[in-house]
């Protein structure tokens, strides 16, 4: 069977070895790119659209898990979702989470017999897709569910917050030499902007120097919903959720004119009661 794959692994020797082993076990598998960090994995995956992604978890910059989330969110509509195989040397929490999520994963050093099993599974999954007349959209459903449960495992997302992270009441935003105190309740949404987060209220917006993933555990998840890897919105500020012909979901807000896009990873939050 012919298929395409991408390898994301920051250690060159290990990447080369995985490629060599795959060549032996699955001659029809064409590795379209081998990259060394998460951001490159995201870029190459979206550009080359391989059918299988081998993602190392700990990579410089963006982790394999973050890359998987971004790929799932930005993957174009109408193209079949890739199969994802995570690779890790030792992450006791990760292995636990993988077990629950039933995502395929490989432990380093990679056991050739185990890799053969992974190849067989991937071939079976691709074959099932090929002869299934199933629509393209549902292809994502299983993968998204798995990704969601992986992202819910705090040890995996790199935040490593204690379970009882204190809830933030007031955001302290520096503006020139002054500190503006913004009550969390008045925030309509948070938006990631590189190493900063934009804090948007009805009246104005502030920039705070914190990564969104570090801010997230300090927010009440019942009140603030993540709708995209870069956007968290206060649930009671959402007026409507509208789906266009292509299936894309956008939100209109109370108190702000702009519309926010919901990624497919979080579209399940919006269902009519």
């Amino acid at each position: 069977m012919n298929a395409t794959a991408l390898i994301a692994e920051d250690e060159a020797l290990l990447a080369a070895e995985l490629k060599a082993q795959l060549a032996k076990l699955w001659p029809g598998l064409h590795v379209v790119a081998t990259v060394g960090h998460g951001a490159a994995a995201l870029e190459s995956a979206l550009r080359l659209r391989p059918q299988i992604l081998f993602l190392d978890i700990r990579m410089p910059g963006m982790s394999g898990l973050e890359a998987a989330q971004a790929i799932a969110e930005d993957w174009p509509d109408g193209i079949r979702a890739p199969l994802i195989v995570f690779v890790t040397a030792y992450d006791q929490y990760a292995v636990e989470a993988f077990g629950h999520a039933a995502v395929d994963y490989l432990l380093k050093p990679i056991d050739p017999a185990r890799l053969a099993q992974t190849c067989a599974r991937a071939q079976a999954a691709l074959a099932a897709r090929a002869d299934g007349a199933s629509a393209i959209a549902p292809q994502w459903d299983a993968a998204l569910g798995q990704l969601r449960s992986l992202l819910a495992a705090p040890a995996l997302t790199g935040t490593r917050q204690t379970p009882a992270a204190p809830r933030l009441q007031v955001i302290q935003a520096g503006v020139g030499h002054a500190i503006h105190l913004v009550p969390v309740d008045s925030v309509i949404y948070f938006e990631a902007a590189d190493k900063y987060v934009r804090v948007v209220t009805a009246e104005r917006e502030h920039l705070i120097r914190i990564a969104l993933r570090e801010l997230l555990p300090q927010l009440d998840e019942q009140r603030f919903w993540q709708i995209h890897r870069g956007t968290v919105v206060r649930a009671d500020a959402i007026a409507t959720a509208q789906r266009d012909e292509a299936g894309k979901l956008t939100l209109s807000l109370r108190g702000r004119p702009e519309r926010l896009t919901v990624s497919r990873l979080y579209a399940h939050l919006f269902r009519a009661m």
């Binding site: 250690e11 070895e17 410089p60 910059g61 040397a89 380093k108 050093p109 935040t159």
Partner: protein
């Protein structure tokens, strides 16, 4: 409630009652031998008084605020509880004995206050010794329990330390690289294995000797960095600077190791472009300054990771134990344009 206290298990009451009954029997036998008279009567009185006082004590304490550790009242409450338990128990027990013999001990007080007082003193003495027995027994058990908890905590801390030193993630990644090298470059694989062996030996025996030469410390760091070099390739540059006159300086083993690991783990590994690590030693007046500097992601990015603090805490604690306030460990953003982090250990020369 978890049954951490031996005093709260369900056999507590019958067991204590049985011990008191046994004590009282011994007292009865002793009294009837010493004073003569009806041994059965002595026995009934001793048991009735002993068990009444015990019941007043053991159930009466529940009326008070209990110390969660011992399950007994503390301070003045203990005194009030014990004194009233003796008085009430003594009166009840004596009354029961009186019912049995058909006489009245309290009548005795009218006839001979002295005889009555000697009875009372005897009862108090016996009660006091029984109470003392239970108290010290409880204290011993508590001490044993605390000892067990302390031992468990210590071995947990040791395990955590070992895990942080061995870093399973690093170990398995190294093994993965080794596995590849064996196939394609056996000579390099052997060299890598030698570094791994030296690194493991140093890590596992590091805590056994109090000091080693700074040159040995640098050799261990070099082993570790060579392992990382194989893994990270040209993403890692290293520089070790050890002046010849400091090579023999005695330092605590592996004191710099956690700092170098942090520089890799939180500085260079997360940094897409990689970077450089410099480990240096120099003499400054009456101090020795040991520096681990990286050109990686910098403090803000890595500061949130719990692992950093644990490693740094270990180094701080060890320095404090050995040198007291004379040694310091500082973690600062590197001052020059290259950025990254500067970890500086200062020890007395």
């Amino acid at each position: 409630m978890t049954p951490t206290h031996a005093d709260t298990d369900r056999f507590h009451y019958p067991r204590h009652g049985a011990i008191v009954a046994g004590f009282s029997a011994v007292v009865a036998i002793g009294l009837s031998i010493a004073k003569g008279g009806d041994w059965m009567l002595q026995f009934v009185y001793a048991e009735a008084i002993g068990l009444s006082i015990w019941a007043c004590t053991d159930f009466g304490r529940l009326l008070f605020k209990l110390d969660p550790e011992s399950n007994w009242p503390v301070g003045w409450r203990m005194v009030v509880m014990q004194v009233s338990a003796v008085i009430i128990g003594y009166v009840i027990g004596t009354w029961i004995g009186d019912q049995y013999c058909g006489c009245s001990t309290f009548e005795l007080w009218r006839h001979s206050a002295r005889a009555f007082a000697s009875y009372l003193v005897l009862s108090i003495a016996i009660t006091a010794s029984i109470s003392f027995f239970f108290l010290s027994r409880g204290r011993d058990q508590r001490r044993l329990r605390q000892l067990a908890i302390a031992q468990r905590d210590a071995s947990e801390a040791q395990l955590k330390l070992l895990e942080s030193q061995l870093e399973p993630h690093m170990l398995f990644n190294t093994l993965a690289n080794l596995r590849v090298l064996i196939g394609i470059d056996p000579v390099r694989a052997q060299a890598m294995l030698d570094h791994l062996i030296a690194f493991l030996r140093a890590t596992l025996s590091g805590s056994q000797q109090p000091f080693h030469a700074l040159s040995a410390e640098f050799a261990r760091l070099s082993d570790y960095l060579q392992l990382m070099q194989v893994r990270m390739g040209d993403r890692l540059q290293t520089r070790l600077v050890l002046p010849a006159d400091l090579a023999g300086l005695q330092v605590p083993p592996l004191v710099l190791q956690p700092l170098v690991e942090n520089a890799i783990k939180h500085g260079l590994e997360p940094h897409v472009g990689g970077g450089r690590i410099e480990v240096s030693a120099m003499r400054a007046a009456d101090r020795i300054v040991l520096r681990v500097r990286d050109t990686g992601a910098g403090l803000a990015a890595g500061a949130s990771a719990v692992g950093t603090r644990f490693g740094l805490e270990q180094v701080r604690k060890r320095l404090a134990t050995i040198y007291g306030a004379a040694a310091t460990l500082e973690l600062t953003p590197a001052a020059d344009a290259e950025g990254g982090t500067d970890a500086t250990v200062t020890i007395p020369a």
